[in-house]
Amino acid sequence: MRSRNVLTGVLLGAGSVAGTLVFRRRLARRQERVDVYFGDGSMVSLAKPGEAEPLLRRARQILDLAG
């Protein structure tokens, strides 16, 4: 009986960890960001609200205009 309880606890714990990982990964994907690539192969990623906001605003405008 006790081993069964332990197994249930372990399964619940593993499930919640896996669920959190999936949720966080999805959340990260949905995060609004700007990736700029340059001719020399370098890339700048802007995700912080302060630095990315002006570009995000323009992109939203483009999405609205394009429909």
Partner: protein, 143 residues
């Protein structure tokens, strides 16, 4: 290939692209999937401004390298801008597109635009009809 044909092909090969405008810096519209020219111009102007903002961020980080492409991921969709030579293409997609694939399709579209269509095969001049040389019937030896 002309812009309309290149954009038509883009729509065929990429189901993720919703709308696209090909333009040059300064606001010259080369082609667009948007029916309205005014809307296409506004989209191009916004894309150019977006590009200017993005290029300001490169200083320090990437030296003097030229802008190549960018993507902006938003909750309602994504915006892509790709440059090839003097031409640029701005495209919108649904949320969470396959970024690499969209970049590839947009770049291909711009490159197709550069390729000149093959000249139509020249019509052959009708073959000169050879003057018939009919042999004069040999007088029959018997007759």
């Amino acid at each position: 290939m002309d812009a309309a044909a290149a954009l038509e092909r883009l729509r065929e090969i990429s189901s993720q692209v919703r709308a696209a405008v090909i333009f040059e810096r300064g606001g010259k519209i080369v082609g667009s999937t948007l029916g309205d020219e005014g809307r296409a111009k506004r989209v191009a102007a916004e894309a150019e401004a977006l590009l200017d903002d993005a290029e300001k961020r490169r200083s320090g980080a990437t030296g003097g390298a030229e802008f190549a492409q960018l993507d902006v991921a938003l909750r309602d969709g994504s915006v892509f801008v790709v440059r090839d030579g003097k031409r640029l293409i701005v495209a919108t997609t649904a949320p969470e597109p396959t970024v690499g694939l969209v970049f590839y399709d947009l770049k291909s579209t711009l490159r197709e635009l550069e390729t000149k269509p093959k000249p139509a095969p020249r019509k052959r001049a009708p073959a000169k009809s050879k003057a018939r040389t009919t042999r004069a019937k040999k007088p029959d030896a018997k007759s």
